[in-house]
């Protein structure tokens, strides 16, 4: 079973309008890199040019903020769920 990545609607349009995409990898970083390769337009919204996470996009791995569990180096297992939470400012 692959890893499932849930995107907010604003990013889903950059992934062929899919709210959830499946990806492969041993770490979160590899998983994100897999998605970035398949959806080049989405890539710069998920991580910077060096492949590092942004300070304004938070990733949750099964409800845990990955910054406290190893960041992109955090290991992932089949069936894990990743949620992408970008900063929004509307009011």
């Amino acid at each position: 079973m692959p890893i499932t990545i849930t995107l907010p609607t604003v990013l889903a349009k950059l992934a062929d309008d899919q709210r959830t995409v499946e990806a492969q990898g041993a770490t979160l970083g590899e998983t994100i890199a897999d998605v970035a390769t398949r959806f080049p337009q989405l890539a710069p919204r998920l991580r910077d040019a060096d492949g590092n996470p942004y300070a304004f996009v938070t990733f949750y791995l099964n409800d845990e903020d990955i910054r406290f569990t190893g960041g992109f180096a955090a290991p992932v297992r089949d069936g894990d769920e990743v949620t992408v939470v970008p900063a929004i400012a509307g009011g």
């Binding site: 942004y54 304004f56 903020d65 970008p86 900063a87 400012a89």
Partner: protein
């Protein structure tokens, strides 16, 4: 404050602590008005007196500020402060239910004052006709028990957060975009702050505003009432507030999800506390740099709507490209233009004739400026940006073209 009282059935957390003896009494009219609250054991007479004693600062009288002001006034929050400097625009009315059609052109604070007075004459509303700034924020925030963030931009969100951390006031956060919202309670004694969630803002232009990206009209209603609920819980000291939790609201799927939030020990605001005073938030959010870049971008060749109209009327050979999205094209278009959404421009470029004169337009002129730069980089030399986009075309050439 040693003599902290909580309502029966309350979950204990450090609420807005006030001595029972310091709470104002309710008149008989107020007792009747709030009867549906008074019969809730979690509110009761004491809780309603706590609401009456409470001082809540709302930053922004827009989409989120509307339900916040309406419901907190109705609930009997005794003293509300409202910060806003904007005027009611007709495009606000789709979601900003604090204001009505008759209020278009009035200060939002004026229509807010009228509505709040009508809903509940027992509420004192203090208005601040100003932008919240690094110079005035601490002074304003200090007078309140808690702050509710109903702003619409990153610099003010970081400003509100930092002012709350520095003064020790809870920051009831809510944010919306298109069909999705976020809510949390930041800057309490033990909880995380906004910077623990997003250390830095995105660069300007990456995340569109609601004016550019749109927002479902009821969404601020949903998120604002969640913020109002959290504010009331903090005042009453009941339930489990959204401290250390981020609520994600997805109206298309109608899913509500809470994620754990932790205080980041390296957070400069609430962790290391190296942030000792308010900073320049425009600078922090890159707004100044972006403005300078925008000025530099004005080196892009431009044509005004009147000039373009004259050229088209003369029968000049001009290829007019509209780089907006198809749903915008449905709303309004310039006669003779053809639709090439910005995202598809790269594919279409090889089919364009670089010897012809090309004018590019969008809604307001910024997307088309990007398109012109992209075309210049691809070697096109006879390409102009339509200054002010279709909005200015409507103003100056053809008022029948709808503005949106």
């Amino acid at each position: 404050m040693s003599e902290t009282q909580t309502a029966p059935g309350a979950t204990t957390f450090d609420a807005i602590a006030r001595r029972l003896s310091a709470l104002p009494e309710l008149s008989n009219e107020e007792v009747l008005r709030y009867s549906r609250h008074l019969i809730l054991p979690e509110v009761g007479l004491e809780g309603q007196r706590r609401l009456k004693a409470a001082r809540v600062l709302l930053v922004g009288a827009g989409g989120l500020g509307s339900p916040l002001a309406l419901y907190l006034a109705a609930a009997g929050v005794g003293h509300m402060g409202l910060v806003d400097f904007d005027v009611v625009d007709v495009t606000n009315l789709q979601r900003q239910v604090l204001h009505g059609t008759k209020d278009v052109g009035r200060l939002k604070l004026d229509s807010a004052r009228d509505r709040v007075a009508d809903i509940n004459p027992h509420v004192t509303l203090e208005t601040y006709e100003t932008q919240l700034t690094s110079q005035n924020a601490l002074e304003i925030v200090r007078d309140y028990d808690l702050v509710i963030d109903g702003t619409d931009n990153f610099p003010t969100r970081y400003l509100v957060n930092d002012a709350c951390v520095l003064t020790g006031k809870p920051n009831v956060y809510g944010s919306i975009f298109r069909f999705e919202g976020q809510a949390s309670v930041f800057a309490t004694d033990d909880g995380p702050c906004y910077r623990c969630l997003f250390r830095e803002p995105p660069p300007p232009g990456l995340v569109p505003s609601c004016a550019e990206g749109g927002v479902l009209g009821v969404l601020p209603g949903l998120v604002g009432t969640i913020q109002a609920t959290e504010a009331i819980k903090l005042i009453l000291g009941v339930g489990q507030p959204l401290i250390g939790r981020l609520l994600l609201i997805d109206t298309l799927r109608m899913q509500f999800r809470t994620l754990k939030l932790q205080r980041d020990p390296t957070c400069p605001a609430c962790g290391t506390r190296e942030l000792k005073e308010l900073i320049d938030y425009e600078e922090f959010c890159g707004v100044r740099k972006a403005a300078a870049e925008a000025r530099a971008a004005q080196a892009i060749p431009e044509v005004t709507p009147r000039e373009l109209a004259e050229r088209l009327a003369r029968g000049d050979d001009v290829d007019v490209l509209d780089v907006r999205e198809p749903h915008e094209w449905e709303i309004a278009r310039i006669p003779g233009a053809r639709l090439v959404p910005l995202g598809t421009l790269a594919e279409v470029l090889p089919t364009l004739d670089p010897t012809r004169e090309i004018v590019v337009h969008c809604k307001g002129g910024s997307r088309s400026a990007k398109a012109v730069r992209q075309m210049q980089a691809a070697g096109f030399q006879r390409v102009w940006n339509l200054a002010g986009g279709i909005l200015r075309w409507s103003d100056e050439v053809d008022g029948r073209v709808a503005k949106y």
